[in-house]
Symmetry: C2
Subunit: 349 residues, 2 copies
């Protein structure tokens, strides 16, 4: 944020509701994210939901989710805050089995942000949205004075339709279910840490940041009602995702340590930093709790998709002890896998 002339930076007046804000919205946001809904320029986008519904969606269950993104640095190996903001919300919709209908994007910009940085971020959002086959239908922009925010924060929300017959949620997990993960864990967390100033971590790990709508659609197409719960293990990693499901269902989840896929670069970085890969964030993985009889077909379907090539079973759901996650080690011993307690590294997403 040093050499650009003033006209190539975000000014307070870009958020003031006047001419500059309107020009920014028209020339940057609408130009780069253009689609029929956003182009209308009303305060609310109006989606013609009924017309586009598949017969299985006609009963009208709507998934709705939101996430703020404050990742630091903005650009990291394998992604950036823009791609993350699209993928994170698409993936939260996917956890409900929902097909995304539309996203919103709201920006909080720091005065002085180089316009080129914002353009890169918005271009990346557009590319990720195109990949996920979803539109940014509505948005907002605020600007705060230098020092009142850090460069750019993005909040995305999403709406999607849930096909009929699905009852996917943490509370639907059942004893005997199999626990799947769609790929190696912890890549995103290590990629961001390796990039962050002050941590001279050598690593070639890239973020797994990816939109999983297509992967989940392929899964549901193959095994439909067999899927009981899904979580994307972001902050707090696999440990958090599994503990949440264990709490919601009142059941025990047991995973086998040596079956959880972890890339060598992630394992090494975690050991250097004294971190547990089970606590490290993913941004392109899904944890799936599935009827044990559907697990094998599910793994086949997942592996046939580019974002699920390394899918595998890592554990099972047990009736007790309630709301507990266990890790079974290679030696056959068990330990409790709790939520991370100490200071996790902030602004990972």
């Amino acid at each position: 944020m040093s050499d650009e002339p003033a006209e190539d930076r975000i000014l307070l007046s870009h958020g003031g509701g006047g001419r500059r804000m309107h020009d920014l919205i028209r020339d940057l946001f609408r130009a780069r994210l253009s689609n029929p809904l956003l182009d209308q320029g009303d305060d609310s986008a109006v989606l013609d939901v009924g017309a586009g519904l598949a017969p299985s969606e006609a009963e009208g269950r709507l998934a709705f989710t939101t996430d703020s993104f404050v990742v630091d640095p903005l650009f990291f190996p394998g992604g950036d805050i823009g791609r993350l903001a699209i993928c994170g919300t698409v993936n939260d919709l996917a956890t409900a089995g929902a097909r995304p209908l539309a996203l919103s994007a709201s920006f909080i910009l720091e005065e002085g942000l180089p316009m080129g940085t914002l353009e890169r971020v918005v271009d990346s959002m557009r590319a990720a949205a195109d990949e996920a086959e979803v539109m940014v239908a509505t948005g907002d922009t605020k600007v705060v004075a230098r020092g009142a925010a850090d460069k750019v924060f993005i909040t995305t929300s999403g709406v999607g339709m849930v096909p009929g017959g699905l009852e996917i949620g943490g509370g639907s997990a059942g004893a005997g279910d199999t626990v799947l993960v769609t790929g190696p864990i912890g890549d995103h967390g290590v990629a961001v840490l390796s990039q962050r100033e002050g941590l001279a971590l050598e690593s070639d790990v890239e973020s797994d940041c990816a939109p999983l709508g297509g992967l989940v659609a392929a899964l549901l197409n193959a095994v439909g009602g067999g899927v009981h719960a899904m979580r994307d293990p972001t902050r707090g990693g696999l440990a958090s995702a599994l503990n949440e499901i264990a709490e919601q269902s009142g059941l025990c989840i047991e995973i086998d340590e040596e079956r959880v896929p972890v890339r060598p670069g992630v394992a090494v970085a975690c050991e250097m930093l004294g971190l547990d890969p089970l606590h490290m964030a993913c941004e392109g993985r899904m944890v799936i709790i599935i009827d044990e009889h559907a697990a094998s077909a599910a793994i086949d379907a997942l592996r046939a998709h580019p974002y699920g090539r390394d899918a595998c079973a890592i554990g099972r759901v047990l009736p007790a002890p309630a709301a507990r996650v266990h890790v079974r080690t290679a030696l056959g011993t068990r330990r409790i896998l709790d939520l991370p307690v100490g200071e996790m590294l902030p602004r990972i997403c």
Copy 2:
């Protein structure tokens, strides 16, 4: 942010995905915003839209909107950031004529924020949501280091159903339409300025911040299809709202200066500060572009509602010049009302 012990403040670990974050979500956010959707605790809320639809909504047009709130100070006469975040999004849904189905709320918190401040804000959100008869169905929390944000930013999104037969949007304004406003303008902007440190402005003006879903429902009930466009004149005030509609419709909007209601306290404050009341933000007003034959019935319906008691006609839509807003003065002269160009005061909402 001075005297509270550490345990009564937001820590970085409250955003880390671990135990502290889960406790904060459960004990503060879910406890205060509790409702059946939020209580499920999944990453996406799933709304049973079909079951609750009125017959007129069954064609399934969904309104979707988002806004970030960064107002400074957090508490001001007549409102606070929490009430603002609920009302702003409810009102954006109302501009499409939509009945709100659910809201989302995503928080970006600065490390060190007193827990009591956050509790006050969330309690205020709950009260405003109850008044607007809408639930906060899903949410998110991020924490950034001290100095990387200013206290608390809130992004709300909303989904709502648009009744059949309505085609409300800036593009639907027509020549001959009447321009209404539901009450005096500029109250919110002046209330926030009067409270802001460094501006020793004496004023008893309170923010008009209010959820307008009920008022708009009463309007639509009375005159239905006569309503062509609505805008809530927030940042940039009435000038911005009218210019947007003029641009979208390619028509001219002409308002009569002496018919625009402005409270004496707002007029005095604007004169002191060299600001134009037509540029000052409202947070509980609606600009309505309506068929001229429906205008009188609309005003009656609006005035029968507590948030529309001072509703009145302020102007008309003309066929030309295109995309232009004119102000007719008491002397009969005309001037162009453009968007504010200079540095507007930031963080008004």
